[in-house]
């Protein structure tokens, strides 16, 4: 009886070993947040905000998004 139980437990343990196996694929790299700025050509960075300042970056994008609102250029409002 004891031997059967031990055999069963051993089989179960061996069967479950694979469940804890980590996938062999490459790991995702961590990304740097956009508000940290670009390491590329500095001239391409829009003026009006300071890289690294998240609130300034948020404000810059909000301001820039208003460039898509042509009603800012007219008096027509609802």
């Amino acid at each position: 009886m004891m031997r059967t139980t031990a055999l069963l437990l051993t089989c179960a343990a061996l069967t479950l070993v694979a469940c804890g196996e980590k996938t062999a694929g490459a790991a995702k790299k961590a990304d740097v947040p956009a508000f940290q700025g670009s390491t590329g050509v500095g001239a391409y960075t829009a003026s009006g905000w300071k890289p690294g300042d998240q609130s300034a970056w948020d404000q810059q994008l909000r301001t820039r998004a208003q460039g898509q609102n042509e009603y800012n250029r007219t008096s027509t409002q609802p």
């Binding site: 490459a26 740097v32 700025g37 948020d58």
Partner: protein, 210 residues
Amino acid sequence: MARMKFICDAERCIECNGCVTACKAEHDVPWGVNRRRVVTLNDGLPGERSVSVACMHCSDAPCMAVCPVDCFYRTDEGVVLHDKDVCIGCGYCSYACPFGAPQFPSNGTFGLRGKMDKCTFCAGGPEANGSPAEFEKYGRNRLSEGKLPACAEMCSTKALLGGDGDVVADIFRNRVLVRGKGSEVWGWGTAYGKPATGGPQQPKPEGKKS
């Protein structure tokens, strides 16, 4: 915290494909890959409508759910990106995506595909922001330069809007109220939300069926 979204105004899109061209030029997208495209319904018939489609950067992205190697990630701004060094080009994401956003650069024998490519909301990838390696794999990283996606900023009729979802929704709401139609397309509350400035929500205009 901004939550980036695209919205395309079908009342304004004139199917010029300027957004497609801007995207391809900005990111040096190879032949055969279209990160963005314009879909036209009822082409040539009265009531024809066009809409510019790309990755919608879903809040609950099905591509992320089905990827067997877990190469996708979401930035703090809600942009869905992926790591091409992890992607195995299996194509599951393209089957899962309702917008046909995932694209593959080559079609060879035995269904050979390259690494998946898709709209990045001009936010690049996991390589250093603005680096040559990032440009090679994902294209320009305009967000890290304080800019919005090239497709939206280049849209001649401003049909395609991109940026913080609240700001974009406010622009769209204002537009729909001024012209008095368009809210019936997606449903007022669902698509346009409430004014971010805290003002009273505008009543639904008596829209004519377009």
